[in-house]
Point group: none
Amino acid sequence: MARVRTAEIVAVGSELLTPFRLDTNSLVITERLNELGVALTGKSVVGDDRSRLATRLREALARADLVVATGGLGPTADDVTRDAAAEVVGRELVEDPAVLSTIRERFARRGVRMPEINRRQAQVIAGAALLPNPYGTAPGQLLEIEGRLLVLLPGPTREMQAIFDESVRPRLERSGAPGVERRVVKVTGRSESQVEEIAHPIYARWLDAEPVIETTILASPGVIELHLSTLAEDAALGREALERAARELEAALAPAAFSIDGRPLERVVGKLLHDRGWTIAVAESCTAGLLLARLTEVPGSSAWVLGGVVAYADDVKTRHLGVPASLIASEGAVSAAVAEAMADGVRERFGADVGVGVTGIAGPGGGSDAKPVGTVWIAVSAANRARQRYLFPGDRQAVRQHAVAAALDLVRRQSGVWVPT
Amino acid sequence: MARVRTAEIVAVGSELLTPFRLDTNSLVITERLNELGVALTGKSVVGDDRSRLATRLREALARADLVVATGGLGPTADDVTRDAAAEVVGRELVEDPAVLSTIRERFARRGVRMPEINRRQAQVIAGAALLPNPYGTAPGQLLEIEGRLLVLLPGPTREMQAIFDESVRPRLERSGAPGVERRVVKVTGRSESQVEEIAHPIYARWLDAEPVIETTILASPGVIELHLSTLAEDAALGREALERAARELEAALAPAAFSIDGRPLERVVGKLLHDRGWTIAVAESCTAGLLLARLTEVPGSSAWVLGGVVAYADDVKTRHLGVPASLIASEGAVSAAVAEAMADGVRERFGADVGVGVTGIAGPGGGSDAKPVGTVWIAVSAANRARQRYLFPGDRQAVRQHAVAAALDLVRRQSGVWVPT
């Protein structure tokens, strides 16, 4: 078998073209292909339409060493993958007696007569290798055409996955391709273009290096991720190259880079607290519980998270955090002084080592010229204190997510200058 | 403009070819296209590779009346959609001074100098209509080539959606196709198969009715959605049919159906509180702020949400909610009595009309035979009181999401029996 380096996935099913369903099978296949050193170069979704599917399969086979089609192997008239694939490779469909009797037995074991339409599932493309299906009636099929591979798998994930693992993987392993290694560098407090400006001159070099390292930047509110990957003939060498690359980016992006091992920000902060044996308590206004929810996403976080107060109403800030009403009146609820008083208040009242206060305007209402929507004050109260004003872009949800990331990051950075109380 | 009947979507981004990301933008676009009577005939995902993208765009334009490309309009070198599209249509890219100054101003408003690489986002394909981006720097672009439409939209969902709604939709509406009408019925507190058992005999009939109504069931932790749709030559008749259908399901699924107009549970609860002029305060343990975060997702929620206490540590339950330490010792932190004491405590201490207490075991650790992972007690304290034990399936995140939905639902149901205090 020719060495397989590139693959495309074609997901078949009209339901996958509605607003309600996504092709998630391709994630399962991609993970496996990557492990086998096969790069996914594209994927497609097409409805239960024989001619459209045939076109897609033809296009994919023209581009990739391996094409995996999922779905459309059922017994009904709108299951057209067998027919479309036979047309594309110019071969006949033949009823396989062994497959047919397997299907009949499967029904018999459940005490059910095989419906006549299930005969369709015994149709095999002439010359195809049959891939047994341990969990369903439709076997997979594998064809080699002019040095390229076409694999047909059923749509149900469990069946698709089992057939891939039992019958497709061993064939690809024999083709002996190297695997893809990955690393993720995570950055906060910088925009995508700020990160790009620093990172691009670095990762651009890696495209000419040996091994080649490819970099993709992903942005979400509060976190920018740089995904590094390399196709490694030698996995250990690939991992070493990625380790060096990740450390180079980390140094260039310091102190904004907070993780080079995939850990999310709340785990990084959790570990800092855990290592010191310190506890944290949080007072939130605009983020209204999201910061505490993030901190407690980490299993075992009850060791360092005590809890906190969501002080949505001003009166709650005064009564439950001890923020003087006069301070709110003079400075405004969204101010440095109030953020600090919230952080101090929750720290003292909860008996925590670290207190955090977050107050801001998430929108859509409540903004002014002096304090537009997106204005957030965050304060950290510990042995040392820090406070910071932010102006976050985006809608209510984005502002809240940005604020959570910024608060976690302020704790992380501040921890570097913590001294024992 | 020619009438647009078919469309393909091409999602651009190497991250969408990893095992970690799916193209979810296409769902948003598909929904809108369907409303406009446009059928999606296929979709593709391609990496940040100019030549592969150009091939995909060419193929799609050969098949569909409209091709929507999302992503790859950012400022970085791996954002290649502008270049690929210009190549496909055989036109030049030109820097647009007006777009450039808009981008500069956008940065200036946030007090930041525009990084030089953002100039790339001002490049426009000669002859393209510019589609303003209210939320980001990259405008969309629209081209008409030989009677077909090519639309380029940025990848961030919010930007993509706003540009589609403000600039693409009006152009397609003028092409005057019959639209798909939709309704969503939302249910909580029932499993997908329980909902299916009740709903299937009802919606199966609609497939033979006039107009035909199609139903899709979608499940997520805590909420089951039934999506009804009909292709209506006459929009008003279609909406009437869906209204009747939605009401039939609502009645059959009462009292678990909480919304037939798309409103999420937190809005339904918010409206109940708002209509009564009542306020709410929340005491959370295992959900650790998620319930408050959900309640405050509704803009304007400061009118009815006072705030609350996240009592992750037992000591916090005692000191800040008045839950007797002896009660925690005798009943356990996850118990009916503690949930009620939390609800009562937060209600009294915050001076709210309604108090909610949530305590449970989200896992992965902390479970026992008597109280396995997934056990959650929720109490609502108002003029009347309610408490309920739950055993939720799934991992830490799923248990927390289930608990938030259940708490909101308990407030909703309990509100029916509230009497003035």
